[in-house]
Symmetry: C2
Subunit: 172 residues, 2 copies
């Protein structure tokens, strides 16, 4: 748990709905050393794993995923909400509190045997992260691990990611 980073996160009560305290990363991002330390800590943790690609989950996963890809010297794949990617996609459903949602990835984004690190800002229930892993594995890729800025441990999302290498910088 990185306390210096944790202090840069802002609590916003009642967002996106009443009773929820939203962990706002924009206050961390606008500090040069907030962005830099987040990326450097994930880089330090994952740099020896022979990663071929970073996959970032729309849209806050893009924010941390691309500077990490830049630093690791690898390419970046966007995993997006339905209908956003222009070429042929694979689609994966995941459960929400009420109902379901989907994420998509280009069919040619990952080649057989490539090792992919999945990045997002937040590990909550783990549904999106698990769906992202399925997308990569369905293409024949290998999930090298998951990098998160924040983990809400009381939601037990980590249970959906058993057997994977998971690094979260800040835990609540």
């Amino acid at each position: 748990m990185d306390k210096k980073l944790a202090k840069m996160i802002r609590d916003v009560p009642d967002f996106p709905k009443e009773g929820i305290v939203f962990k706002d990363i924009t206050t961390l991002l606008k500090e040069a050393n907030g962005l830099r330390s987040s990326v450097d800590l994930l880089n330090e943790y994952f740099k020896d794993l022979k990663i071929d690609l970073i996959a970032g989950i729309e849209s806050r996963g893009f924010i941390f995923g691309t500077p990490l890809a830049y630093n690791l010297g690898v390419g970046f794949i966007p995993i997006r909400k339905p209908g956003k990617l222009p070429a042929e996609t694979f689609s994966q459903e995941y459960a929400l509190e009420y109902g379901t949602d989907r994420i998509e990835m280009h069919k040619d984004a990952v080649r057989e045997g490539q090792s992919v690190l999945i990045v997002d800002d937040l590990l909550a229930t783990g549904g999106t992260a698990e769906a992202a892993a399925k997308l990569i594995e369905n293409c024949g890729g290998k999930v090298a691990g998951f990098g998160f800025i924040i983990e809400l441990t009381f939601l037990n999302g980590i249970n959906k990611l058993k057997g994977y290498n998971v690094k979260s910088l800040i835990k609540y």
Copy 2:
């Protein structure tokens, strides 16, 4: 115009609707040297301008904006679609082909006098870019310039950004 980068962009016909040829940057992004060169070229162009912050426009502006912020050693501000930012926002309308849309920025994202570089993947009609500049200037910030990966010159978006320092890596 960077020809090596231009070759990494994929044309996707009839996306998002019939008759439009979409310039797909995901084929550039998944190549380590595509992401790296894009960021390095923007960095090289803007590094002496004393920039305080990068603002990225949702969501492909996040992809190029954060590694650039990392490299320039500055913070990052997300400019987002309505309802996505948790704290108090300023909102700015812009014209679409039919109708209007809005983008938002946190009220406390930019302090008086800060110099902000706006980043997005694509300069098309320039409506979003112009709205982003208004958001920053309404906060008392100064727009240091605009960095784009692609400019569709036939749409004349550059006319909306007169007086600003604009750099586009690839022009069609």
